[in-house]
Amino acid sequence: MKPSLFDYCSPTSVGEVVAALVADPGAMILAGGQSLVPAMNLRLASPTRLIDLKNVADLADIQVDNGVIKIGAMVRHRDLELNDEVYAANPLIRKMMRFVAHVPIRNCGTVVGSLCHADAAAEMPLLLVLTGGTVTAVGPDGSRDIAAKDFFQFHMTTSRAPDEMIVRANIPVLADGAGYAFHEFARRQGDYAIAAAGATVSLDGDNRVTRARVGACGVASTPVLLEAVEQAITGAQLSQSTIADAAEKAKDAVTAPDDMHASTGYRKHLLAGLVRRVLGEAGQRAAGGAIK
């Protein structure tokens, strides 16, 4: 297979990348290429020009700074996954990263590329939503931070303007004492999730939930926060029964229509089970022992 014809450039600065985007509305940015190149090989995408980021300085940097993990646009999945400072700052990242495709893909693909590709079943967009992270966009008029909930508009659609480049993702560190968990259901290892759920939970001394973030992917046109579940569990004493009741409320968030992988009903069933599991596991981590 062969992609259709395109022009290619490999600029050395963010300013040049933006100028190239402005000059050619049909251009696309090439980072790791692990989503874009298959789409081009199948001729689902036919950019007029590829703007390769490989020669742009400093984009492969990872910094943990002031409670935020800053991930440059050329940071490969595998580099973030294996980074011990990142693991110490937010272990949820490594947990979720293990579900992103396979190691050879993670060696090449980038985190920011996955965010910009914005597949509704992918793990990295859910990570950004779940942690309340942001992306930093640079365009001809300067830079802006875009919150996760505003960034993901629809399956494979973001609020990045056509002449903007996402230069980094910013993911908050895990709150002190918070528990975390992520589970996913896919038919084969490394496939996109049929449904996946993640959670972070903070507890007080009586195992009462002081703060909960619960999110899912694969079940709607974007990754979603399960606010009904969060509300049901916040302030409650964490127990197997409060978890089971709260998990049922996840079902309303499933809006994906029946497809070749699963029916809507099956996804609802799956998601409730996954939410039960992540709440239990995150609660257990926060409590430092089993939840009764």
């Binding site: 090439l30 190149v37 298959p38």
Partner: protein
């Protein structure tokens, strides 16, 4: 023995770019179409046909090579992206006399291949793990996870799992 073919005249009207990389220790320089995939570059420009091409969209793993010491899909990488990179292919694994590498011997001993189409990608992926410092889980489940990005349609994987374990146990990997 020079295993890399000489340059051929570029007849295409595609935009081209001068691209230089190290392949199996040898520096190569070619004027290539910017849409040429690394897999096609290795096979058609350099004559290194040991890297196999299966699905060409990253699913099957047959085209896996090492890019700067890490496994990667040569079908999801443009040759121009690999400009300046250090590439290793299956042709570099056995020694000059044709003596098999420990991992290849393990594949032979365990009958871990039948048609052999997936084998080069399997070997390059497994080798990158064995040569890296990161921990390898040698349980069946751990090895299955390691192999999950490489499809085999002959063996049913059981013998490949045996071969990985044998290679990990018998090889001198200098692992920390």
């Amino acid at each position: 023995m020079n295993r890399i073919a000489g340059n051929t005249a570029e007849q295409s009207a595609d935009p081209t770019q001068l691209t230089r990389m190290t392949v199996n220790g040898e520096t190569v320089e070619r004027e290539v179409s910017v849409r040429m995939l690394l897999s096609d570059f290795l096979r058609h420009e350099l004559g290194l046909t040991g890297t196999h091409v299966g699905c060409e969209h990253g699913v099957c793993g047959a085209c896996t090579v090492m890019i700067n010491g890490r496994s990667g899909r040569s079908c999801l990488t443009f040759a121009v992206q690999a400009d300046g990179a250090d590439i290793r292919t299956i042709e570099s694994v056995a020694d000059e006399n044709g003596d098999l590498h420990t991992l290849q011997e393990a594949f032979r001993d365990c009958h871990a291949l039948q048609c052999g189409y997936c084998t080069p990608g399997m070997i390059m992926n497994i080798l990158s793990h064995l040569e890296a410092d990161d921990e390898i889980d040698l349980s069946d489940e751990g090895i299955r996870e390691l192999l999950s990005g490489n499809l085999c349609r002959c063996t049913g994987y059981a013998n490949i799992i045996k071969a990985v374990r044998q290679a990990a146990d018998t090889g001198n990997w200098n692992r920390t």
